[in-house]
Amino acid sequence: MVQVNLWAGLRRFADGKDTVEIKAQNVGEILNALENKYPELKEIIEAGVSVSVDGKIIASGLTEPVYEDSEVFLLQQLKGG
């Protein structure tokens, strides 16, 4: 299981938790699993999120692998100028 950290504003859609346990092997599976486990997160994830895996910020890719001990954070979608 991978520990996935949610930003504070998402707690109320995840039963008040800011860290949830997800079974996944890559970023795409994490997002799918989150949407299935907490349907209220679906709209926000579909609008676009970035993910940080062990400090590496994944702007949009779904294939980045994650491991049991990976530190994973959901982040608001990064946009630049």
């Binding site: 209220e40 926000i44 590496k56 702007a59 530190e71 954070f73 982040l75 630049g80 100028g81």
Partner: protein
């Protein structure tokens, strides 16, 4: 995790300062920008824009305009796709773009496009739009972010807020962000001093000197060509196809040279309109924005209203940081309240931090990115408060920042732990820099500030074709907004081992390469650079195979050295090196043309930090600020072409100076933009600025083969605060509202 083959030293080409390849074209006036293209039979487009900040369109009658001699087509919202619905998720942005480029039932800001005309000359088109009759029913409007959030505020649009917005806020609040860790209340209790303050910044414009311009050709067969000035022609292809019901691949977009972007040309404004006019008139249509249209109807930054509270111990340790950031992004969701909140405390290692960001609707144009969207404003507020704390506790501002600085392994204010970062290195370089210890006269003040930006990767596709004469052609899909063609050629030269001058880098059109993400997020040298290196390695792989075949040895026994294939060791065989040219000269016969390529979405762009030092002097009678000295110290990871890295540092600093001292959007009580021109929207002149000194710090980014970090955006993050701190020191009063224009400074001094 660092790439296995990261290079940190021994560069032959990378790090040098050769002439850029497009230099000749640009100094002779030959380079073709958006408005420099002409086509036989071309028509000229003009757009009718709303003079009201908020109104219902009750009637739109184009009949008189249609009759004017020379008018060949008129389009309104009805001429765009009807398949785009107001939904949520990723498609919502498409709807918002459509609504922005051509009004539907309502006009939402002064300058909102209502209809467009194509005619045989620009003057006829201009005359024609005056003949279009619109009946408006004026509605109450709101342009200030706090006023828009207040109870009873005029509502800009219903139903825009998403699930993130908590109960109890009015419908103008579109998005809500909250993040942080620890317990700030506990942290504040531990502090010896708490400073709590509020700050405001007004909207600014990227101020690129080249207005948006395009030449569009679209037939009824669904096939089209678009020439335009853009930071992302692949994105433009995608969005124009969606807005006009075209198959994406049937629209070919070519990026012109771009006369400045800074984030403002990352989205469409007139391009879909030109395409619609072309389809309707069956002729090419050229559409060029006027300067006042650029100000009124493209994408300025958000304006902000921010509250910051920071607690510090006597020894300089920050015990807690809290920030609330309210941003308005015009009549559409997208103001970077989230990014502002996430960047605000990023330079600091905090046990207790909490940030809230709001994205609020107002009757203003749809905001667009401007360098690091949201980060400069956050830095202005947070770094001003840290400056106050240092002053009150009599602590050195650099020492305090070093004490609390984020380092590798620090838990960032936005959540994850930082990987290799260079903040401390920039602070130490600032401390050692002669600027920091130079004496100041009475009436002069010094300010420093840190700044942070994420940078990113994004879809990238690069192709590297070898010519028979041993030279190379790189095709990239990222418009060159800062000198990147030169950097691509340097990186390819480094890999291939052939001279820089033997490599030509071209920005290919959308038909030539796979999808390329927009040139933004400081991603080009990082992502297109990484792809160029990989494409070169791919080409080398293929060249090595040709050499191996020629020598009759396995490919694994060949290595590439100084531009030649050589046997990898004495056991491989005794063969003379084969240069790249030797191998390409008859490549058609030895297996075919040799092309290296690479497609991926590289993730691993390193974040970057900067520290700026500014000296300023304030004239107490006029309130005018003179910037006496400016030093930019920023981590570039690895500077591929140092002159263009310095250029980014200086350019970002100059824009920050303008933003801090003079630039602002001024709206009248009627909701109309009052200063839509360069006379009254005052950007820095040569006579306003001193030389801008730069120090390039290099802490390699583990995610790039040479350690590159993006540099284009971070340079605009520290200036607002550094200048506010310098001005506050020089004038003897804290200024909390940007710009710190002469009238504001005089008022503040008089109120003292």
């Amino acid at each position: 995790m660092a790439l296995d083959d990261q290079r940190k030293s021994g560069f032959k080409f990378v790090g040098t300062r050769p002439n850029r390849p497009d230099g000749m074209d640009k100094v002779t006036g030959r380079a073709k920008f958006g408005a420099d293209m002409y086509a036989p039979g071309m028509l000229h487009g003009a757009i009718l824009r709303s003079p009201h900040a908020h109104a219902k369109i009750n009637k739109l009658d184009v009949s008189r305009a249609e009759k004017l001699k020379g008018v060949k087509a008129i389009v309104t919202r009805a001429d765009f796709s009807k398949k785009i619905n107001f939904t949520s998720g990723k498609d919502l942005e498409t709807w918002n773009v459509l609504e922005n480029i051509m009004a539907g039932e309502k006009v939402l800001y002064d300058g909102h496009a209502v209809a467009a005309v194509a005619a045989t000359s620009a003057l006829v088109a201009r005359d024609a739009i005056k003949l279009i009759e619109v009946q408006y029913e004026i509605l109450p409007h709101v342009t200030d972010v706090d006023a828009a959030m207040a109870k009873g505020a005029p509502i800009v649009r219903e139903g825009v807020a998403d699930k993130s917005v908590p109960e109890g806020l009015n419908s103008n609040v579109a998005r809500y962000h909250e993040s942080g860790h620890g317990d700030v209340e506990v942290g504040f209790k531990e502090a010896d001093l708490i400073v709590e303050d509020s700050f405001k910044t007004e909207a600014t414009h990227q101020g690129y000197i080249e207005p948006h311009a395009c030449l569009a050709t679209l037939g009824n067969d669904g096939k089209g060509e678009l020439w335009c000035t853009t930071q992302g022609h692949f994105y433009f292809q995608k969005i124009c196809a969606a807005l006009l019901d075209l198959e994406t691949s049937q629209l070919r977009v070519t990026a012109s040279e771009i006369g400045g972007g800074f984030g403002g040309k990352t989205t469409v404004f007139v391009e879909p309109v030109a395409l619609a006019l072309s389809r309707k008139s069956n002729r090419p249509v050229k559409l060029v924005m006027s300067r006042s249209e650029v100000f009124r109807a493209t994408g300025p930054t958000s304006s902000t209203s921010m509250d910051i509270k920071i607690g510090m111990k006597k020894d300089g340790t920050i015990t807690a940081g809290q920030g609330t950031f309210r941003l308005q992004g015009g009549a559409f969701p997208g103001a970077p309240g989230d990014l502002t909140a996430m960047c605000a405390f990023a330079p600091y290692s905090l046990k207790n931090v909490h940030q809230i960001g709001y994205d609020v609707l107002t009757n203003r144009p749809k905001q667009a990115a401007y360098r690091a969207p949201g980060s400069p404003m956050a830095a202005f507020a947070v770094e001003s408060v840290i400056d106050e704390l240092c002053k009150k506790l009599n602590l050195d501002p650099i020492e305090v920042r070093l004490k609390n600085a984020s380092r590798k392994g620090t838990k960032a204010s936005f959540g994850p732990k930082f990987d290799e970062i260079g903040l401390v290195e920039t602070l130490e370089a600032a401390k050692e820099h002669p600027h920091y210890s130079a004496p100041l006269k009475v009436g002069q003040g010094r300010g420093i500030s840190c700044g942070f930006w994420f940078n990113f990767g994004g879809e990238t596709a690069v192709s590297l074709a070898l010519s028979e004469d041993g030279t190379a052609q790189i095709s990239v899909g990222t418009p060159d907004i800062g000198g990147s063609r030169s950097s691509m050629a340097l990186m390819a030269a480094e890999e291939l081992g052939i001279p820089y001058d033997h490599i030509r880098c071209t920005i290919a059109d959308t038909a030539t390469l796979g999808y390329n993400e927009i040139s933004h997020g400081s991603r080009v040298t990082y992502a297109s650079g990484l792809a160029t290196i990989k494409a070169a390695k791919d080409a080398i792989n293929k060249l090595s195979k040709r050499a191996a075949d020629k020598w009759g040895i396995p490919k694994e026994a060949v290595k590439w050295e100084d531009g030649c294939a050589v046997p990898s060791g004495p056991n491989a065989g005794n063969f003379q090196p084969l240069s790249l040219k030797d191998l390409t000269k008859n490549m058609g016969k030895t297996g075919g043309p040799i092309v290296g390529h690479f497609e991926a979405t590289p993730e691993g762009a390193g974040v970057s930090f900067a520290t700026h030092i500014v000296d300023a002097e304030v004239d107490p009678d006029t309130g005018k600020t003179k910037i006496l000295r400016y030093t930019v110290i920023q981590d570039a990871g690895k500077a591929i072409h140092p002159s263009y890295v310095e250029g980014q540092y200086q350019g970002g600093a100059a824009q920050g100076i303008g933003w801090a001292l003079n630039e602002e959007y001024i709206y009248g009580s009627d909701g109309r933009l009052q200063n839509a021109g360069f006379l009254d929207y005052r950007i820095p002149l040569a006579s306003d600025l001193p030389m801008i000194d730069t120090v390039i710090v290099e802490v390699p980014n583990p995610g790039h083969p040479y350690g590159v970090r993006g540099v284009g955006e971070t340079s605009i993050c520290p200036p607002l605060a550094a200048i506010a701190n310098a001005v506050s020191a020089a004038a003897g009063i804290r200024l909390r509202e940007l710009p710190m224009s002469p009238p504001r400074i005089v008022a503040a001094l008089n109120g003292k």
